[in-house]
């Protein structure tokens, strides 16, 4: 059985949890629900305080959607999550102090993974404070030596998230076709 993952990364508040909720078939395991209760992490793995969802393709196959934990810069240990990953969906919050710096940080942190797979970037919160124009993100992406789609997204919108994941899939394999 193939169990592939799509990794959702980005700074706190960029919409990873919401994006996974939007795409997931099953009720996703929400970080926010269990993070407040440390004592619930028992030896027999009772609560998983992490953004996680699934998209079921048929009886046999599922795509796992993982939101990266470790909101603090020094807690990054994302490498352990990217095994068997299809690609990275990077969400950036346009209202943060320096979204381009966030972009640099995450792209550099996932550099090896992106080089093996692909990245698709969603910019959230663009309606609240349009700090940066899309061109600035594109310029930064090129400057950092990466290629990929960048879309404005609302993590609550299936249409937006679907576009972002489709773009990731076609970047991975432009010859892709829908199955019957």
């Amino acid at each position: 059985m193939n169990e592939l993952k799509i990794i959702f990364a980005g700074p706190v508040g960029s919409g990873k949890t919401t994006a996974i909720e939007t795409l997931s078939d099953a009720a996703p395991v929400s970080t926010n629900q269990s993070a407040s209760d440390m004592t619930r992490i028992r030896k027999s793995k009772t609560t998983v305080a992490m953004d996680y969802g699934t998209m079921t393709l048929d009886d046999q196959e599922k795509i796992h959607l993982y939101g990266t934990p470790g909101q603090e810069r020094f807690d990054f240990m994302w490498d352990i999550l990217t095994n068997n990953g299809l690609g990275l969906v990077l969400l950036l919050d346009n209202t943060r102090r320096d979204p381009l710096n966030d972009m640099t940080f995450f792209l550099e942190s996932f550099k090896d993974y992106i080089n093996e797979t692909a990245v698709s970037i969603g910019i959230t919160q663009t309606k609240i404070v349009p700090l940066l124009k899309m061109d600035q993100y594109h310029r930064k992406l090129k400057e950092l030596g990466f290629k990929g789609p960048i879309f404005e997204v609302d993590a609550r919108s299936f249409n937006d998230m679907s576009h972002l994941v489709q773009a990731l899939l076609f970047t991975i394999d432009p010859g892709l076709e829908c199955s019957a």
Binding site: I41, K45, M50, F151, S162, C178
Partner: protein, 444 residues
């Protein structure tokens, strides 16, 4: 050691200074690591191993307390910087924590606890890994970490972790992907598709009579006027009022917005008519900005009662929309069919009116230049989709015909197929055909 043993088969692990989300990630990792079973415990007295984030706030004090209470506990430090000294119960793992290194550490600690010999196979992630652990192995022989006999073993473990060595683990063989069965769909249904891409059937480009049908002249349509006014607004850094017949548009470069007193129901027919002398525009005073907001609000209040058509757009989205309505699946006259075209960057497809197959075309074209006909052939889609997409991208400055000779000489590479293409195709179908949550893309 008996007080630390939760099970004879697992390493009982607890955390100190590790945030909850990271703990969960570790738990996921442990769950997937069948060869070295680890179990999370919240009671530190039950743990055999404690993972300590050495960079956490106020960790020194907490760690000191932990060592006072549990002096025999094995510790795995996670830190950006290597500690200056480690005692015989302390191990170290450099951040960012890599899965191979973590696996190596746990494997070595497992071996230490179970009394096995330390394996010194170097890590090589690209090579197939073989299982050196017997699944029936138990922690029947616990290692006394205080024993002097075991000190070289502990030192060896720390050295191996430092040198990034690992006991190799066999990875299961991948399932063979199933064959594809169907052609690509349109990927996100588009309501009133013909308004955007027309209905023109594919033509034979060798037939000059048919060739005429795929071109249009933007200069004769509203597209050229909108393009000029956008440029004028940028140059003047001012709001420009454009009158088309009896309808008014305001172009605000500063806000990157276009406002109109009418909606798509009126604007689209304007795109079908050739324009010349019915057009006038004027540059407004800076003071007009305040007035503009009042006009927009008043118009909004008025029109909301009648219908809910959109009457303001991002400037780029407006240009894109007008171009689609004017081109209707055709190309600007003079566009070369034999020269490759290139895409400078992905269009912001989530905020632009939809063109069927746009995501697919973007991915192919962004990867490398192709002629427009190569794209239709390679993707197996009708010409009008590619032509509409190119016309719209060109009007917003994202696509151009390549003038480089090198692009003509090199035949575009056929993209390598992904090893899991069957699953990706299923996922694509799911995303494209999702009905319950998705909203259909409607015209503006």
């Amino acid at each position: 050691m008996s007080e630390q043993s939760l099970s004879d088969e697992t390493i009982a692990v607890s955390f100190l200074g590790v945030d909850k989300r990271s703990m969960s990630a570790y738990e996921f990792f442990f769950n997937g690591m069948k060869q070295i079973p680890c179990e999370l415990v919240d009671d530190i007295s039950q743990a055999q191993l404690c993972l300590v984030d050495k960079d956490a706030y106020n960790i020194q004090e907490k760690y000191k307390k932990l060592r006072q209470e549990y002096p025999d506990k094995l510790i795995l430090f996670l830190s950006l910087e290597e500690p200056s000294c480690l005692d015989d119960k302390e191990f170290f793992l450099q951040k960012p924590v890599k899965k191979n290194a973590l696996q190596a550490s746990l494997t070595q600690i497992y071996h230490l606890l179970s009394g096995k010999t330390v394996n010194t196979t170097p890590i090589n992630s690209t090579e197939e890994k073989t299982d050196t652990l017997n699944n029936n192995d138990k922690f029947s022989q616990k290692v006394d970490i205080h024993s002097e006999n075991n000190q070289p073993q502990i030192a060896a473990i720390n050295n191996q972790i430092k040198d990034n060595t690992i006991v190799s683990i066999k990875t299961p063989a991948k399932e063979k992907p199933k064959t594809l069965t169907a052609k690509a769909g349109q990927l996100l249904k588009v309501v009133n598709e013909k308004d955007f891409v027309g209905q023109q059937a594919d033509i034979d480009i060798n037939d000059p009579a048919q060739l005429e049908k795929i071109f249009y002249e933007p200069n004769k349509f509203l597209q050229a006027i909108v393009e000029k006014v956008c440029i004028k607004s940028r140059q003047a850094e001012a709001i420009i009022q454009l009158n088309v017949l009896n309808h008014v548009f305001y172009f605000d470069y500063q806000e990157q917005k276009v406002y109109s007193t009418v909606g798509p129901g009126i604007i689209r027919p304007l795109c079908l008519l050739p324009h010349d002398h019915h057009i006038s525009y004027k540059i407004k005073d800076p003071a007009f900005r305040a007035q503009l907001h009042e006009i927009i609000q008043a118009n909004k209040n008025k029109t909301i009662k009648k219908n809910r058509e959109n009457q303001s757009w991002n400037m780029e989205a407006f240009m894109w929309l007008i171009t689609l309505w004017c081109s209707r699946g055709r190309l600007p006259k003079g566009t070369s069919l034999s020269n490759p075209v290139y895409l400078m960057q992905w269009p912001n497809l989530t905020r632009l009116d939809p063109v069927p197959h746009a995501v697919h075309i973007s991915a192919l074209l962004y990867k490398q230049p192709h002629t427009l006909l190569e794209i239709t052939q390679q993707l197996g889609i009708e010409q009008r989709y590619v032509f509409a997409f190119y016309s719209a991208c060109k009007s917003v400055g994202l696509a151009h015909v390549s003038r480089r000779e090198v692009d003509k000489i090199f035949v575009p590479e056929k993209a390598a197929r992904h090893k899991n293409k069957s699953i990706l195709s299923k996922l694509l179908s799911k995303l494209a055909g999702f009905k319950d949550k998705s909203e259909m893309n409607e015209i503006a």
